[in-house]
């Protein structure tokens, strides 16, 4: 592995670092609030997810924060549970729980842990954290929706590194076999996992072709381009009687130049006021 790749001096996704609008910056600043609350967290995987979740919760999903178990809601499962801070920030903003909880991230008296727990947190549909679980849970829920001929849909967000897990491909086979048109897999394809780049650790390419081969309708999008994401979600399902896979090309750590593609920012510890302030300044300048 080259030093340049380790430091993330080039952005391997083929995406040029693009600007972030005010809302994307504010959401990232709320993530920093949460990171400071717990003095730790998965920064890279959180920041690659922001625009995907923003578009889902602003424009795509049906939900009712006052009634998180509303029968007609869409089911969203964050299978890459370590990106949970991004989801916590959106759920707090939408009113699922008070945003003061963000300051108690990982605290003994808080409800927000380093991985999402559906028993504790309103709006979390499945407890994840151990990778490779969310897709199969989503398949079961999509099948249940089909049994009752419901209109609601199931969205499962995976990490690309998570797709190293064999259970993901067991699930992909099953979803294709069942022709689950009401299921959408979203991959936060940030091209990096804990140790290094995904092509060096365990190459997933040809990634989109894999999903096609497993029976999915596939679409690829810049995962930080909110209008492209909106269009991609509006086109669902991509093929009749098949599950859909939306591969979102993202930058791990997007929004803090030092963090982008830098594996040292996969999970940060000892985040203090000064570090948090530096992160906020970097986001503002982005």
């Amino acid at each position: 592995m080259t030093q340049a790749a380790l430091k993330g001096e080039s952005v391997p996704s083929g995406l040029e670092p693009g600007p972030l609008d005010r809302r994307s910056k504010e959401l990232r600043k709320q993530c920093v609030r949460c990171l400071l609350g717990g003095s730790r967290g998965h920064v890279g995987s959180t920041f690659s997810l922001i625009e995907i979740l923003r578009v889902l919760y602003d424009d795509v999903l049906k939900y009712d924060p006052a009634n998180p178990s509303w029968e007609e809601r869409d089911r969203f499962i964050l299978s890459k549970g370590h990106g949970c801070i991004a989801l916590y920030v959106l759920l707090a903003e939408k009113g699922f729980f008070p945003d003061a909880e963000l300051d108690k991230f990982c605290h003994p008296d808080g409800i927000l842990g380093g991985h999402p727990d559906h028993v504790k947190v309103p709006g979390i549909e499945a407890s994840t954290g151990s990778l490779g679980h969310g897709l199969s849970i989503g398949i079961g829920r999509a099948l249940a929706g089909r049994v009752r001929r419901a209109d609601w849909r199931v969205f499962v967000t995976l990490g690309d590194g998570e797709c190293n897990e064999g259970s993901i491909w067991e699930g992909a086979l099953a979803a294709g076999n069942h022709g689950l048109e009401n299921l959408t897999v979203i991959v936060d394809n940030n091209k990096r996992q804990s140790y290094g780049s995904t092509d060096e650790v365990l190459d997933l390419e040809p990634f989109a072709d894999k999903w096609r081969a497993f029976g999915f309708g596939v679409h690829e999008v810049d995962g930080h381009d909110t209008s492209a994401l909106r269009n991609a979600f509006a086109r669902l399902p991509y093929e009749k009687d098949r599950p859909s896979a939306l591969i979102c090309h993202t930058v791990k750590g997007k929004g803090i130049p030092e963090a982008e593609g830098n594996n040292k920012w996969h999970h940060l510890r000892a985040i203090d006021e000064a570090k948090a302030q530096a992160m906020i300044e970097a986001i503002e300048k982005y």
Partner: protein, 310 residues
């Protein structure tokens, strides 16, 4: 017993639209009638247990009572994390119907012999563990499984097992079933070891020893009151199980007695020693090989009572 269990899934599904069945590449023809009658609630998945258990969790989260079936070791060992996290942590009503409990698959070797399933499942919070002695006990269990609010690990025996639950009080999940009360010694059984122990009980009582037998079809939650009230009056306790001596019913009872009784009776666990099964043959061959026999039960009880008297 398996047929009783599986057939009753169909019966329950007819009565209750929450019930679904999920299998993993089972034998051809399994539950065909349910498949034709209730196709929306019958799923036959591939050889992918991790996915199957996650799917079951998803179905159960949406309000279904999920009966899922494959070989015990593939649920208890291979898909342990899905059983533990997706179902156990979420405390969902998934019923794991597990073929080949204990040494049933003796001809197939250690990959298929579920000698550690009680230990693995006991360690999962919220899990209930049921091991039937015969088809009658299974028949009593299944309707109660419908509304039990926790996941259940259902250990199946070989099939065509002799009926040995005659004379027991009615079955209730979580409750022990005393066959005979006795003040000298207590024999504790679960699953098919009721059949192993009954001849020993008859023999010991014929010898004039006042021996009781407590059958525990529910391994977890343990019916602690039933065990303690009898063990506290006994000089000896012998637990017989078709399971490793590590982590099974014997371990559970031993911990209970040590923690709760001011003076503990003499105690013996009869089970599979800390090793992988090292011969083939039949279940009966293996039970003899590991000395899980009526003769051994009788010998251990006599020996413990002699030591206690000395």
């Amino acid at each position: 017993m398996r047929k009783t269990c599986i057939d009753m899934v169909h019966e329950l599904a007819k009565q209750d639209e929450r019930v679904v069945f999920v299998g993993s590449d089972l034998g051809v023809g399994t539950l065909d009638e349910m498949r034709w009658e209730l196709p929306d609630r019958f799923f036959m998945e591939g050889v992918s247990e991790a996915n199957m258990i996650g799917m079951c969790a998803g179905l159960a989260t949406e309000g279904h009572i999920v009966y899922t079936n494959t070989i015990a070791t593939f649920i208890a060992r291979r898909a342990y994390e899905q059983v533990c996290l997706d179902v156990g942590h979420a405390d969902l009503p998934v019923r794991f119907i597990c073929n080949g409990g204990g040494l049933v698959y003796a001809p197939l070797g250690p990959t298929h012999e579920a000698i550690d399933d009680f230990a693995l499942m006991r360690a999962i919070p919220n899990m209930t563990i049921f091991a039937a002695a015969d088809a009658e006990e299974m028949r009593e269990f299944m309707p109660q499984s419908l509304d039990w609010p926790h996941p259940i690990y259902i250990r199946l025996a070989k099939g065509h097992d002799p009926i040995v639950t005659q004379g027991l009080p009615p079955f209730e999940i979580g409750k022990a079933r005393p066959l005979v009360e006795g003040s000298d010694a207590l024999i504790v059984t679960t699953g098919i070891t009721l059949r192993v122990a009954r001849p020993a009980l008859d023999e010991l009582r014929a010898e004039g020893l006042d021996v009781g037998l407590l059958h525990l079809p529910t391994v977890k939650p343990l019916d602690t009151d039933a065990i303690l009230s009898r063990a506290s009056k006994s000089r000896a306790v012998v637990v017989v199980e078709e399971h490793s001596i590590i982590g099974g019913l014997g371990s559970a009872v031993a911990s209970l007695l040590l923690e709760e009784l001011p003076s503990t009776p003499s105690f013996r666990m009869i089970g599979i020693p800390d090793q992988f099964p090292d011969i083939y043959g039949s279940q009966a061959d293996q039970l003899r090989h590991f000395d899980i026999t009526a003769e051994r039960v009788a010998t251990e009880v006599r020996g413990l009572l002699r030591s206690a008297a000395a």
